[in-house]
């Protein structure tokens, strides 16, 4: 289970393994590892209680997305005039592809397009929270999480705090 928290390890694996098949997995959480949830295939996912309480990783993803990512991808992932709505595109993307694109960037420049996603692989503000951003977008994309700040959240776990401290340095 420790591996699932070692984000840099995952990045390396994703980059060397190439692109995996598109994701169509059931996002239902089947495992709770110290406040971080995983689906049946072992991918990070969200967990939203009936009263709307979100897991801390979803909340953390909300915060990071609406700081670093929203300047291009729009508030709450709904897109802008120049970057895609991730609430839609993340649905068609595997976890491995997501990690690879965020870390390595993507360029789509032609006569009609001037879209460039920069590589965030060296940015701890993003890479330390990459799973959180993925979990948040998955929750948004599945329609389980409405726009805006989640009203209620689970507490930050000690594991999360340790990971954050060691990753952010």
């Amino acid at each position: 289970m420790m591996l699932k928290h070692a984000i840099r390890g995952v990045v390396l694996a994703a980059c060397t393994a190439g692109f995996a098949s598109a994701q169509a997995a059931d996002p239902t959480a089947v495992e709770n590892d110290a406040g971080k949830y995983f689906d049946a295939e072992g991918y990070p996912t969200f967990n939203i209680a009936e009263d709307g309480t979100v897991d801390f990783h979803t909340y953390s993803g909300f915060r990071r997305f609406n700081s670093e990512c929203h300047v291009c991808h729009g508030p709450d992932g709904v897109g802008s005039t120049f970057a895609p709505a991730l609430v839609e595109s993340v649905q068609d993307m595997s976890y491995e592809d997501f990690v690879a694109v965020v870390a390595g960037g993507r360029e789509n420049v032609g006569s009609g397009n001037q879209n460039v996603m920069p590589a965030f692989g060296t940015n701890p503000n993003i890479m330390c929270y990459l799973d959180d951003i993925y979990i948040y977008l998955r929750a948004r994309g599945e329609g389980d999480l409405p726009r805006g700040r989640p009203a209620k959240k689970e507490a930050k776990s000690d594991v999360f705090a340790e990971m954050e401290d060691s990753c952010m340095g």
């Binding site: 005039t81 001037q114 700040r149």
Partner: protein
């Protein structure tokens, strides 16, 4: 009759432009005496965006029609406006920053087109779309031919022959590898061209740089923070609110080396007073957006600068928002006007700031005369202290409830007005010397702001706050207003509610008409006195460009670039939503994408011939 006269004047002037020695004097003369042209990005040195052309007036503007239009071939946000010099129109596009020279005398054919080669990676480090706010023009002198100056996204500054588009020189103004980019329109002053930088969200240190127009050599560079030899401040003679700034004020108000990644970029508009021989511009937000990580006043971010254009030395400064907690960049236009204060005419600079206060200062001394809210919903500060005896003199009096510093890291501070977009952003206002009023395009948006700790990596975003923005609660539901402002009394004269932020620059004319564009794509004309709408036309895409006017063969034209995008295109294109605000499904919630689409287009308007000739 009047329009015929103007035509004769401008033809005579075009043939007479070649003999003045200084670009400055000649450019100034052109701006003042040739209303048929639009020779600098800001209209004139005073940044009025006012034209003496009056063929189109408040009685006939409703008959305006499209004369011609042109695609720019680029789909990103189109800020800025064309220039018209003689028979040629010049404009630049968003990335890749193509420059067009269009022959107005020859059916609008493209005389030349300059296509820079830039690494597209720069697109990814532009915080708020790949906008470019236009090119500058320098008339021919003994030292150089008529020149067009482009400030590319990747910070390459290029001088082009105005006649042929050939490159005269190229210099690198910054390092896009560190997130340093360029969006602002350069300004030609004397034999120099002034160029600013962008990248406050990447920890870029702001600077204003003057290049020799003949050679492209750096004449001076003034940073927005650092020791005095970097900021070009004189500890004794440079003043802040009448007091000497003291030694190394650009580092003394920072903790440690934070100033080196401290922001204060200079991406707004530049004005110039030839009599006082001072240039004016503002500096942007300090980095990061998390105020807890940069204790102190963070001088000289968020500051109005008055500098000598020859050596860059600052005469006076005024920091509007010490220790910013909201991203209220101070880069908006600095409009120079001579206004009557109780019978005394004062030379002032008027600046409607992002922070929601419109400032009027004596532009010779930097004395603060007026600082009033130009949107009554501004709530982060109660007022700006105006008592020179107070230790708070000139400082905004921050409301604790809306202080993101006092709220602290990892705390969401809700209901702050205005949002980080500001009560206005760079979209420039117009000023009419007839009404002595300022016509200001504004945003009417509030926000929640949660700062948190970030670490710096060169070339990576360095933000440190989570924001959500929404239409001002308990107001008209829209996200913008277009207002007329009295800068002497600090009062709104009239205000037009708009559904979306007014992200277009305004134009005032002697025809008693004010023009502006809207995000839905309308060009609107309103009565200068009353704000009553007189005309609207929906262009191909949302308007974030600035409206300009020119005259050709005796006819007055109105021109504007369409092309939705910019910062407005980030939040507003998607529709701003605040589930907690409980406003119901009013207009503000509608998505802009229901109204308009991407597109880059120049649209040019004129009156039907029979109407124009009857004037």
């Amino acid at each position: 009759m009047k329009s015929g006269l103007l035509g004769a004047v401008s033809i005579a002037a075009v043939t007479a432009v070649a003999w003045s020695a200084s670009a400055n004097e000649q450019l100034q003369t052109m701006a003042e005496e040739q209303p048929g042209e639009w020779v600098m990005p800001t209209g004139n040195y005073a940044n009025w965006r006012y034209s003496e052309l009056d063929q189109i007036d408040k009685d006939n503007v409703d008959q305006l029609q499209v004369a011609w239009s042109m695609s720019t071939g680029v789909l990103r946000g189109h800020e800025g406006n064309p220039l018209v010099i003689g028979d040629t129109m010049y404009f630049s596009t968003p990335f890749p920053n193509n420059v067009f020279a269009v022959d107005l005398a020859n059916d609008g054919i493209i005389k030349w087109k300059y296509e820079p080669q830039q690494d597209p990676q720069v697109i990814g480090v532009m915080c708020c779309d790949t906008v470019n706010r236009g090119v500058a023009y320098a008339p021919e002198t003994d030292a150089y031919p008529a020149t067009i100056i482009l400030n590319q996204a990747d910070t390459t500054v290029v001088a082009l022959s105005a006649d042929t588009g050939q490159v005269l020189w190229e210099v690198q103004n910054g390092d896009p590898g560190k997130g340093e980019t360029a969006t602002m329109a350069p300004q030609v002053v004397k034999d120099k061209v002034l160029v600013g930088n962008s990248g406050g969200e990447y920890g870029v240190l702001g600077h204003m740089t003057a290049y020799d127009i003949a050679t492209g050599e750096v004449a001076w560079r003034a940073f927005s923070a650092g020791p005095d030899d970097m900021t070009l401040l004189d500890p004794e003679n440079t003043t802040h609110l009448g007091e000497p700034v003291g030694v190394d004020s650009g580092t003394a108000t920072w903790e440690g080396d934070q100033w080196q990644i401290g922001g204060g970029t200079t991406w707004g508009w530049i004005s110039y007073d030839p009599e006082l021989d001072l240039v004016y511009y503002g500096t942007g937000n300090p980095s990061t957006w998390n105020p807890a990580q940069r204790p102190g006043d963070n001088r000289w971010s968020m500051t109005i600068m008055a500098r000598d254009p020859d050596d860059g030395m600052a005469k006076w400064l005024y920091q509007m928002t010490p220790h910013d907690e909201w991203d209220y960049d101070g880069v908006n236009e600095m409009i120079l006007a001579d206004l009557d204060f109780e019978g005394e005419e004062r030379k002032v600079v008027v600046h409607p700031d992002r922070n929601g206060f419109a400032y009027t200062l004596d532009r010779e001394t930097g004395e603060l005369l007026v600082a009033e809210k130009y949107d009554p919903f501004v709530n982060w500060a109660t007022h700006v202290e105006m008592d020179p005896e107070s230790d708070q003199y000139g400082r905004p009096q921050v409301v604790a409830e809306y202080s993101t510093e006092q709220g602290g890291e990892d705390t969401n501070t809700a209901g702050i007005c205005p949002a980080a977009l500001g009560t206005k952003d760079q979209q420039p206002s117009a000023y009419s010397p007839e009404t002595k009023l300022f016509y200001i395009p504004t945003n009417h948006v509030c926000m929640d702001y949660e700062p948190f700790r970030v670490s710096y990596t060169a070339g990576q975003p360095y933000v440190g706050a989570t924001l959500s923005m929404y239409p001002t609660p308990e107001s008209h539901g829209g996200m913008g207003n277009f207002i007329a402002w009295d800068a002497v009394n600090g009062e709104i004269v009239w205000s037009i509610p708009e559904q979306f932020s007014v992200w277009s620059g305004a134009l005032a004319t002697a025809g008693d008409v004010v023009f502006y564009g809207t995000l839905e794509g309308y060009l609107k004309a309103v009565d200068m006195e009353t704000g009553e709408e007189l005309y609207r036309f929906k262009t191909g895409s949302g308007v974030i460009g600035n409206v300009m006017t020119y005259e050709h063969e005796g006819e007055q034209y109105i021109a504007v670039l369409s092309g939705v995008g910019g910062w407005a295109g980030i939040g507003l294109a998607a529709g701003l939503t605040d589930p907690a605000a409980g406003l119901g499904a009013v207009g503000g919630y509608a998505s802009l994408s229901d109204y308009t689409n991407l597109g880059g287009q120049l649209t040019v308007f004129k009156l039907p011939e029979e109407v124009a000739s009857s004037e």
